[in-house]
């Protein structure tokens, strides 16, 4: 499936505020990056499967983001929409190298 394993450098870690999402455009794909309170950095597609809500603007609690448009709850770890709603979003691998966030797994 994966056509490339290249990692792309996207942002300085210190520019990511804890629990406030950040939108980045990588190869024209809108990706939301989050720094969770446990220190993990997570990257997902910036589109809620419901009505395309920009997830980077959502409230982050633990490993979940709540879509700002209609409050869908989505896991930033698995990409799965939580009950009672259904669906799934793309997640991307992240890595911190020398204080920068890299993401991989893009097609």
């Amino acid at each position: 499936m994966s056509t490339t394993t290249d990692k792309i450098k996207v942002i300085k870690l210190e520019d990511l505020a804890v629990q406030i999402g950040k939108e980045v455009l990588v190869k024209d794909q809108s990706i939301a990056i989050f720094r969770l309170s446990n220190g993990d950095v997570r990257a997902v597609s910036n589109r809620c499967p419901h009505k395309d809500g920009p997830l980077a603007e959502g409230i982050v609690s633990g490993e979940y983001v709540f879509c700002p448009l209609h409050d869908w709850k989505i896991s930033l770890v698995t990409g799965e929409v939580q009950k009672p709603d259904d669906g799934c979003i793309q997640t991307y691998e992240t890595e911190i190298i020398d204080g920068y966030v890299y993401i991989g797994g893009l097609g």
């Binding site: 792309i8 450098k9 996207v10 942002i11 520019d15 505020a17 804890v18 629990q19 406030i20 950040k22 939108e23 980045v24 455009l25 990588v26 190869k27 309170s37 009505k51 395309d52 809500g53 920009p54 603007e57 959502g58 409230i59 982050v60 609690s61 633990g62 979940y64 709540f66 700002p68 448009l69 409050d71 709850k73 799965e80 929409v81 009950k83 009672p84 259904d86 669906g87 799934c88």
Partner: protein, 800 residues
């Protein structure tokens, strides 16, 4: 020695029958169950919920391994009975085990019917019947894109919905022109199809499958009209075939299924059959409710309880697909001696049809709003005379409907069709175990434990049984799903225990989620800042996007920019600047807002700070839970009827109260005379200027639910107006629930409470002073962000 009872099968109907036997005579039989699936018994009808991701395999077990042990049932799983030796009175399994019986129950159920067309054994062709099938479909959805479901019945549509949810492109192939033709008439079927198409499901109607093609794995199917459709997963949901091979081989009377009498006895009096493998009066049932009824009859019979025997079932059906609320029961198609009552509401998309014969309901089809289903179906089962009822009342006022009439339901009427729980069982359990909530009733009786559609009825029965003691809101009284504590309890605890941070509050008060949720995060942030204005630092990460970004998010992710215009006033220079900025940034919509300001809508996120900087105006807080605006008429400065300077007062109020967080947004109004051009009697706080002073009003709302203001008092000077306004806002800040407008707040705490609190001069002064203290901690939002690089960083989008 106890009699030996052997059951072939370990499915829902069989296990239910055993449960019922144990309930009646726990020690009467030595019980052995033989099941060929490697699981304890599970709720098969929930598989579509598993597929749709609403629940997991773990949650659908009916009885786990412990249940068998606790009840001393010997379970032989993963082994299949190959034949029954009636003369020797034992059964033999494929492993060669011989199990003797005194009484034998066949509960072998049925299998998914697989169309015997060429290619039916290719990889990727499955039925939808078991945990394996479901797992197969879930795995396929991860790897493959295109699915076809053959069969537009109940099961097929639930399967298709599940595959859609798992990201597949789904075609449903149906032989007939209407979906669910067993349960729906033409009109309801078309409404259903339309709704499902809106959800992204595609249909190939009136298509007969001729052949499935593919090398090793399925690649598509061809129809007998020469057309075809591609797929890499093919689900057959075309019906079930009772598993009767061993019964037939044993020489029992078998037609379509194993023939039984009213006591579920086969042609051999020591052998019984229940469930989908049994045929009673010519009917083999495939829905769960009748199977449970059969299990109960057989349990009565085997334990020597008096029983009327099984009389057959009138079926009712609901579909477990979100957004397609339907109910079907009894007869569907009108005939010569039936009359129909049809209500079709194209406005809401609701369709209701009731078939009546000899003044009795004999069939019900509901689509769009199935809430009447239980009630109408109960009339059908009771044979109630319809002449006493209004047949089609149109457009009566909201809230006038009387709702479910649980009082008139008889005790043996079924409430939960999935698990066969009657009203009598529920009422008995409520009284015996002292149950007070739906979840408790579900745990004890299983009512509502499968599809959950009967929850409303169960709650109505709780209310009816417990009277005032039942509080449906009790289960949701907490601030949010994280805690059962109410707003007042949380605020009191913060004060008492001297807590300082949201994290501390969640830890100390044992919130279920360590980091809260989108409901309690903003609420705790508000309460803490309200209680500790000078020490608590606002947490941007706990703010809803609109307040975090200081603009309202629009449905496409852009934002609105609405500058402050005190009292609705502006200047020629400001208007020109707004025009220039709107042009420069290609703002798609410029509109006068409901709160009498100019709004720029559709500003791109990355442009937002630049737009603010170039406008060089204050934020209108059009996105916040705080004072939005004070609507004012021009007043005595220009109007020939004006009694006071309402505009001047409006501007002053707006300037003195803006920015400070309140539980929800607030709107105020000042009008210059009782003609009330500024419409102040539906504001959170309204002032009517009169010759001798100012009449103050509070608690009005012109939004969701219109509420007219209550009058507070009349004061003589502008200063007094401002003081009262501040005291009132502070009272609301200190006792309102986050997200509660003043209108419901006033209803909740009482009009008199507010009047009393603001009737005492010393208290007014203290409230106003606390408001001032809070206000001193606020800075104008846009300027604050423009001076803080890190905050501006939130608006930029990195491009790589």
């Amino acid at each position: 020695m106890k009699k030996r009872l052997v059951m072939i099968g370990n499915g829902m109907a069989g296990a239910r029958c055993i449960e019922e036997i144990l309930k009646r005579q726990p020690d009467m039989y030595d019980i052995t169950m033989i099941g060929d699936e490697p699981y304890p018994n599970y709720n098969r009808i929930m598989l579509s919920n598993v597929l749709q991701g609403k629940t997991t395999f773990n949650d659908i077990n009916i009885n786990d391994w412990d249940w068998y042990e606790a009840n001393q049932i010997k379970l032989i799983s993963n082994e299949r009975v190959t034949h029954i030796e009636r003369e020797a009175r034992h059964v033999v399994t494929n492993q060669g085990t011989t199990i003797p019986y005194d009484e034998l129950i066949i509960a072998t159920g049925s299998s998914a019917f697989i169309l015997p067309v060429p290619g039916h054994n290719l990889e990727g062709v499955v039925g939808f019947r078991t945990i394996e099938d479901t797992q197969h479909m879930m795995d396929a959805a991860k790897q493959y894109k295109k699915a076809v479901v053959i069969g537009g019945g109940l099961l097929g549509l639930e399967a298709a919905r599940g595959l859609l949810d798992r990201g597949m492109d789904v075609h449903v192939v149906h032989l007939l022109p209407n979906l669910m033709e067993m349960q729906l008439d033409h009109a309801a079927a078309k409404l259903l199809q339309k709704d499902l198409e809106k959800q992204g499901m595609k249909f190939l109607m009136e298509k007969k499958t001729a052949e499935i093609y593919g090398e090793q794995r399925v690649q598509g199917l061809r129809f007998d009209d020469g057309t075809s459709v591609e797929c890499d997963l093919l689900v057959m949901a075309v019906g079930i075939r009772p598993n009767v091979a061993i019964a037939r081989e044993a020489g029992l009377d078998v037609n379509r299924a194993i023939q039984v009498n009213d006591y579920m006895q086969t042609s051999d009096p020591l052998i019984y059959a229940v469930g989908e493998c049994a045929e009673h009066r010519g009917i083999a049932y495939g829905l769960v409710a009748p199977l449970y009824e059969q299990g109960i009859v057989l349990a009565d019979f085997l334990t020597g309880q008096p029983t009327m025997g099984y009389q057959g079932s009138i079926l009712s059906t609901q579909l477990k697909v979100a957004g397609c609320d339907l109910f079907s029961g009894g007869e569907i198609h009108p005939c010569e001696n039936t009359k129909s009552i049809v209500v079709q509401d194209e406005f809401t998309g609701a369709y209701k049809k009731v078939l009546v014969r000899d003044n009795k309901v004999v069939g019900v089809v509901l689509y769009g709003d199935a809430s009447d289903g239980t009630r109408l179906f109960s009339m059908l089962k009771k044979g109630a005379d319809v002449q006493e009822f209004t047949s089609a009342s149109v457009l009566h006022k909201a809230g006038e409907e009387s709702g479910l009439d649980v009082a008139s339901m008889s005790a043996n009427e079924t409430v939960c069709g999935c698990n066969g729980v009657t009203k009598g069982t529920i009422v008995g359990a409520i009284l015996e175990h002292g149950l007070t909530s739906f979840n408790e009733v579900k745990a004890v009786t299983k009512a509502g434990g499968s599809c959950g559609k009967c929850r409303g009825t169960v709650e109505a029965i709780l209310a009816h049984t417990l009277g005032d003691k039942f509080d449906a809101s009790a289960e949701v009284s907490g601030m949010c799903g994280c805690t059962t504590l109410s707003r007042d309890e949380v605020v009191a605890a913060i004060k008492e225990k001297g807590m300082h941070t949201p994290k501390e509050v969640r830890m100390v008060l044992g919130f279920k989620h360590e980091e809260g949720c989108s409901k309690c995060r903003p609420a705790l942030n508000y309460y803490l800042r309200m209680l500790r204005p000078e020490e608590y630092e606002d947490d941007k990460a706990s703010r809803f996007v609109n307040e975090r970004m200081d603009g309202n998010i629009q449905k496409d992710g852009t934002f609105s920019v609405v500058p402050r215009m005190y009292g609705g006033t502006t200047t020629p220079d400001d208007l020109i600047r707004i025009g220039q900025v709107a042009k420069k940034y290609n703002v798609p919509l410029v509109k006068i807002t409901g709160a009498a300001r100019v709004g720029l809508f559709g500003v791109k996120k990355e442009d937002v700070p630049n737009v603010w900087a170039e406008l060089d105006m204050k934020s209108g807080y059009a996105y916040s839970k705080s004072l939005r605006n004070v609507k004012s008429c021009v007043g005595s400065q220009f109007c020939r009827f004006g009694t006071q300077d309402s505009l001047g007062l409006g501007i002053r109020l707006e300037q003195e109260i803006e920015m400070v967080d309140t539980p929800h947004k607030m709107k105020m109004g000042v009008t210059g005379c009782p003609r009330n051009c500024a419409e102040v009697l539906t504001k959170d706080f309204g002032i009517v200027c009169v010759e001798n002073g100012y009449q103050l009003y509070f608690g009005g709302n012109g939004g969701t639910e219109v509420r007219e203001c209550d009058s507070l008092t009349t004061v003589a000077t502008e200063d007094e107006v401002v003081l009262m306004a501040k005291a009132y806002v502070q009272l609301y800040r200190e006792s309102g629930i986050y997200g509660e407008r003043t209108a419901p707040w006033v209803e909740r705490v009482g009009v008199e409470t507010v009047r009393t609190a603001l009737g005492e001069a010393s208290q007014v002064a203290e409230l106003a002073a606390r408001f001032e203290q809070a206000r001193g901690t606020y800075r104008e939002a846009w300027r604050a962000t423009l001076e803080d690089e890190q905050r501006q960083n939130m608006y930029s989008i990195e491009k790589r």
